[in-house]
Chain length 324, copies 2
């Protein structure tokens, strides 16, 4: 969480001048996003009353060739009534601009706060909105492959290697074989759409029990909708580093989702393996980051074991968990 | 610039509940302040329309015994019409509260952006507001000694020592004797008030050529008003690391100040030594930070030579600079 790049008020005023949003009133660098710099921008607005935006500067990790996918997706979803921020286009219609060598986008600001320990009612609302988003994205014309699917998890863990993984935790090397098996057994033919694939509570803004915004679509890609539900289940239904399964929250998420889009039989049957794959996606990325980050770095390393616990939980539970 | 402490939405909602400001709508950690964590908070407001605040958590460097001085000063100045944010008091009238072991204050949000390269018109406006603030603070009943005056600069530089200072730059050791002489020759009897003492452009929010807010009063103390004007002159009138004196900006600052409060003859005569003392205040703190910060730390060290150049400039100019 950082602002990587300083922007002067002159830079900001010049940038804002390319959009039909009025004059710059205020700009605050905000501590959000691990790969981008973000500013909360207030302007006088184009009509009556001020307007607020998030200005994002893409710093790293994002392939700029994917930017039109991410930014157009926001417009597509917002136009269909999904609670996602719209991309503001400049006077020439462009969805992003350049400040020197860096791409920037101006995105609608939506209110709300991220919850830390979601209630069942909140998880239910998130389930509904996730399904709504899946249905709305089905006819989105652009595509982007999932670079972090089951194959990728298996590959990353294999490349880390048993020896290095054991340095993090003795239980980690066993995930290499599990990930390989899940990649090999990956269920084919599940219904697809664009999925968010990183819908942790900090990527959902809420007001009370209502979802005011899904944000941070920078892992969005085409993949099985049920896999996205599994990722969201793994992200929302546990506390205490994956030790505490919050069954009522998980059940409410699934119920909310299926109020809007009923899972097909094949999806329901696949949920246990999808949930394990979801856990492995974060085991693998966290293990890789852990090994890439010096122990004395100022960055807090996220513990891959938080998701090994989820993996073990899902493996032990079987399909009943998702049939409630 | 950082958010040192994570606050959950539950923490925030509980805190906001102690104030008569409505319900929490949004909270963003903002990358401002080197010693505090700050959040931009939006609430539903106590009347019609939403309201915005800065929530500050005091992390370090600030002696909590000084908090009533800083927070009451904001109220005192705001009540007299100075553009400073008011402190929001809780339902019990307290100006700050505790979240666990840390003190927090809710402060009015004011719009505006900090300018990087001020124009003469902007410097003129800042001069006016600085003088207005000095006059308004004269009857502020609380007091706080200046811990960063000329004596402190001399002491800090002497403690760094010629040998270590030379490691930063060969020109730095000479500042030890200069600071000692200036501390010994310090002009007595200059008119006092509460001074901001750190009024760099990033501590002034502007809209166009108007000052919308002075912020970050955490170095405020009782001292000579002319010394504050000298600090502000050193902070506003140079570019390019102190190499480029921007005479029109400096002159506009002095003229603006004196439109509201004319300097007395003794103050005018003291300005050259006060300006050198102002430069030394930042030479000494930057040299100390430089020596305290490992070269490979992720923090950018500020170069004390930026202010040695200002020191040399002021020493070479003599009093004519301040009589324009």
């Amino acid at each position: 969480m950082a602002v990587y790049t300083q922007l002067s008020s002159a830079d900001l005023e010049q940038l804002i001048g390319h959009y039909d949003v009025g004059q710059l009133v205020s700009a605050k660098g905000i501590a959000e996003g691990v790969s981008n710099s973000n500013w909360l921008i207030e302007t006088t607005g184009s009509g009556s009353g001020g307007a607020r935006f998030i200005l994002t500067m893409y710093e790293r990790r994002i392939d700029l060739a994917d930017l039109p996918f991410f930014l157009d997706l926001l417009d597509h979803l917002a136009a269909k009534g999904c609670p996602v921020p719209r991309t503001i286009h400049d006077r020439d219609g462009a969805s992003f601009r350049w400040i020197g060598p860096k791409a920037v986008a101006l995105i609608e600001f939506l209110p709300g706060v991220s919850v830390d320990l979601p209630s069942p009612a909140q998880a239910h609302a998130v389930g509904r909105v996730l399904a709504q988003m899946h249905l709305a994205a089905m006819d989105f014309p652009k595509t982007r492959a999932n670079a972090l699917g089951a194959d990728a998890s298996a590959k990353v863990l294999a490349e880390c290697g048993a020896q290095k993984l054991a340095l993090i935790d003795p239980a980690l090397p066993a995930t290499i074989a599990i990930a390989a098996r899940i990649a090999a057994d990956w269920p084919q033919g599940l219904p697809q759409s664009v999925i968010h694939s990183d819908l942790f509570p900090d990527n959902v803004l809420m007001r009370g029990d209502e979802v005011s915004a899904l944000i941070d679509f920078y892992f969005a890609c085409n993949d099985a909708m049920a896999y996205d539900l599994a990722v969201t289940h793994a992200a929302w239904s546990f506390a205490a580093g994956g030790r505490d399964f919050r069954g009522d929250v998980g059940a409410a998420l699934l119920a909310g989702y299926q109020e809007v889009r009923l899972l097909e039989a094949a999806e329901r049957a696949a949920m246990p393996i999808l949930a394990q794959a979801a856990a492995l996606r974060f085991v693998s990325s966290r293990a890789q980051d852990w090994l890439d980050t010096p122990a004395d770095a100022l960055v807090t390393r996220k513990d891959p074991m938080d998701f090994v616990r989820r993996l073990d939980f899902y493996a032990a539970q079987g399909p009943a968990l998702f049939n409630a």
